[in-house]
């Protein structure tokens, strides 16, 4: 009798508690057999579940790449959808291994929350969306407008700064969730909807008549978005950081899902180092030599994931812009593998 009772009590206690933060994330992940990845609750292009619960998006693909590098299986990821408020707490408490949820890298978040931003996988900035019928061409013509925004984000503060700087009047209507905000804008409660440009493109798809709306050219803030890990586990930090750099390097060297077989036979020294036919760079990370091959084979290089999820090949149709490689006019730049 007693053991059952105790088991019941223990199960009850543990069902609701996650394990505490541990320094050996890689070991934990390998023992568990999955990477637990915090993503957004539903943002087309970045992390979005379909009706059957399959996740797609740029942030999602990043998590898959981490899983591919560790397990040679891109499906060994468990996605935990998180709200903007809960995301950092979930990471701090060890509930998730990596947070890949369009989170902006700021100094205070990097220093005071006990977190490390590993890389920037999307350079974003805050923009404005208006109805075409208003015939507004620039954010500077928005004097007197009503603006819908989500509360508790830097968006709200940037917005106030922008209108104050340009001495324009505005009425702000702040909602608790992104869905409410979009719905309010769609319903005509405000003239302008403001959030990160990538999100504007994504939310535009949710509007009743997506073609009636236009995104204004002005970008009023810097929003570098990237994956985040906990302080205090440098090995895990390196793995996450280099997963991103590996994807960038692969694109830069022309290694993609299509050209992978050629790359494996390549004689170019930098390609050989990338695919692991020369050197043991993967092992230095605590992974295998072919870790980048696994990523490219199972997920793709950075350019491929970008095009598939948010770029011209997707519903969102966002231009590469700043997210182009450094040698193509953008600022995505990765240290070399050597």
């Amino acid at each position: 009798m007693k053991p059952v009772v105790i088991r019941l009590a223990l199960a009850a206690a543990f069902a609701f508690t996650a394990q505490a933060a541990s320094a050996q994330t890689l070991k934990t992940v390998k023992d568990r057999g999955t990477v637990v990845c915090g993503v957004s609750q539903g943002l087309p292009g970045f992390s979005n579940p379909d009706d059957k619960g399959n996740w797609t998006g740029l942030d999602v693909d990043f998590c898959r790449a981490v899983a591919a590098a560790i397990f040679n299986d891109a499906t060994k990821v468990k996605f935990t959808p998180l709200s903007a408020k809960d995301r950092f707490t979930a990471l701090q408490s060890g509930e998730i291994d990596v947070l890949s949820r369009n989170s902006t890298w700021t100094s205070s978040r990097d220093t005071s929350l006990g977190l490390n931003f590993a890389a920037v996988n999307y350079y974003d900035g805050q923009g404005f969306m208006v109805r075409k019928a208003l015939k507004v061409n620039s954010a500077l013509e928005l004097n007197g407008a009503s603006v819908c925004t989500q509360t508790g984000t830097t968006t709200e503060l940037n917005l106030a700064d922008f209108f104050r700087t340009h001495k324009m009047k505005y009425e702000v209507i702040a909602f608790a969730t992104a869905d409410e905000t979009v719905k309010a804008y769609d319903g005509g409660r405000c003239d302008v909807f403001t959030t990160d440009v990538s999100q504007l493109y994504a939310e535009k798809l949710k509007l009743t008549n997506a073609n009636d709306h236009v995104i204004l050219p002005e970008v009023i803030s810097k929003e570098p978005l990237g994956p985040v890990v906990r302080h205090g586990d440098d090995q895990w930090f390196d793995i996450v950081k280099w997963t991103h750099y590996a994807m960038i390097n692969a694109e830069e060297l022309g290694v993609s899902q299509k050209t992978l077989d050629e790359a494996l036979k390549s004689t170019k020294p930098d390609v050989k180092r990338l695919v692991g036919t020369e050197g043991n760079y993967g092992e230095q990370l605590g992974l295998t030599k072919d870790w980048i091959v696994r990523i490219v084979k199972l997920v793709g290089n950075y350019g491929e994931t970008f095009d598939r999820n948010v770029g011209p090949g997707s519903k969102l149709g966002i231009a590469r812009g700043l997210n182009n490689l450094w040698n193509n006019g953008g600022i995505q730049y990765a240290p070399p593998v050597r």
Binding site: Q92, S146, L159, A174, A176
Partner: protein, 396 residues
């Protein structure tokens, strides 16, 4: 247990063990100790957690710049003001919606409550349906309904529904003219005040006369003439010093006049209709608590049903009505915090919502917010208790 041991020493021990007073003290000490231990434990945990998460403590944040906008404020507010000012902006918004809500809910509630007892079968049923439907739907559901389905369905400002070219209804709110007080408008206001004073005096005199002679005085007409007519005459004489600033569509929105934002309107309607359903039930049971003989006696004295209601039944019913009415007023005030669901900038939304999010100082902010609601509760119940005791005194 102690029965076997027979000796003089056993008795006092037994007495001490079974002394109810001492046992009570012991239990209380244990309870207090647990509470103190819990308190210390919580405080220590909070300290470590706050340090680990690098969250500031203390109320210094109240002097920091808020940096965000608020779309309804009774006092001057701009983004460069402090969180301390945001607190007052929110508090006033809470108070204003609660005050209007209480007034409106009381009016609707009494009307429906009386209608439920009407001898007109149809209106009684109708009032019953109102009460049942409203009471059995969640308040947040009703707030969202009014906000999204009713006010959200109004046309855009460009196609606003206009009433007499002065009031405009659109999905940005209800824009009404704002009175402009020019030179000499003091006279008009003085005339208005004088009208009210004279009416009150007239009422006193008319009552005294009725007591004496039974003659009634047409007070309604006189009051209308004094309160409305007198200021109107003065206004004409002074050459219309009070003008109106009409709302005008300029750019994106209506400029000028006063705009009631839809968040306010939706919250006000939902709060007052919801609370009114409960008040109606209170009023009904209060009236039913007054014995039927009172009504019959009043009828036999020749009082009309309306007068019977207002002069005989309701004053007596009030004694039963007041206590539960108080708690409804409190509920309304507390429920106004649901504003956060539709983005009305009340105390909860701007302070416990946005400010909490920006500063992360959950303990201080929630403590202050809870304290404010507690103080409002205490003041309201104190006022109502005072009113209640006054009512009881007059009766006895």
């Amino acid at each position: 247990m102690t029965g076997e041991r027979e000796g003089p020493a056993a008795r006092p021990r037994l007495a001490v063990l079974y002394n109810p007073k001492l046992r009570g003290i012991f239990y209380q000490l244990v309870l207090l100790a647990i509470m103190v231990w819990l308190g210390i434990e919580f405080a220590l945990n909070a300290k470590t957690n706050l340090q680990a998460q690098k969250i500031a403590t203390g109320f210094g944040f109240l002097d920091n710049t808020a940096g965000f906008g608020v779309n309804q404020s009774l006092i001057a507010y701009q983004e460069s003001d402090t969180y301390g000012r945001v607190f007052f902006v929110g508090l006033l918004n809470t108070l204003v919606v609660s005050a209007f809500g209480i007034a409106l809910a009381t009016a609707i509630g009494f009307l429906v409550g009386v209608a439920r007892l009407s001898n007109n079968w149809l209106i009684a049923r109708l009032a019953g349906v109102y009460v049942e439907v409203i009471r059995n739907l969640p308040l947040l559901f009703q707030i969202l309904f009014w906000y999204l389905a009713v006010l959200g369905a109004l046309p855009a400002p460009r196609n606003a529904i206009s009433v007499l070219d002065g009031v405009f209804l659109s999905n940005r709110g209800i824009a009404v003219p704002r009175p402009l007080f020019g030179e000499g408008s003091g006279l008009v206001l003085a005339a208005f005040a004088a009208g009210i004073v004279v009416t009150l005096m007239l009422r006193f005199w008319a009552q005294a006369r009725q007591e004496k002679t039974g003659q009634q005085f047409p007070l309604g007409c006189a009051a209308a003439g004094l309160i409305l007519g007198l200021p109107l005459l003065v206004m004409i004489a002074a050459g219309f010093p009070i003008g109106f600033e009409l709302p005008q569509l300029r750019g994106f929105n209506f400029v000028g006049g006063v705009t009631m934002i839809p968040e306010f309107t939706a919250l006000l309607i939902a709060l007052s209709t919801y609370t009114a359903a409960f008040i109606a039930e209170i009023v009904r049971s209060g009236i039913q608590a007054v014995s039927r003989g009172q009504t019959e006696a009043a009828y036999s004295l020749g009082l009309k049903p309306g007068r019977t209601m207002s002069m005989v039944v309701i004053p007596q019913a009030m004694r039963v009505i007041i206590p539960p009415l108080t708690s409804q007023y409190l509920n309304l005030t507390k429920n106004s915090s649901l504003a956060v669901g539709i983005g009305y900038p009340d105390l909860f939304a701007v302070f416990a919502g946005t400010t909490l999010n920006q500063t992360g100082q959950a303990i201080e902010i929630l403590a202050v917010t809870m304290a404010v609601y507690l103080v409002i509760s205490l003041i309201t119940s104190a006022l109502m208790n005072w009113y209640n005791s006054r009512l009881q005194l007059v009766e006895r």
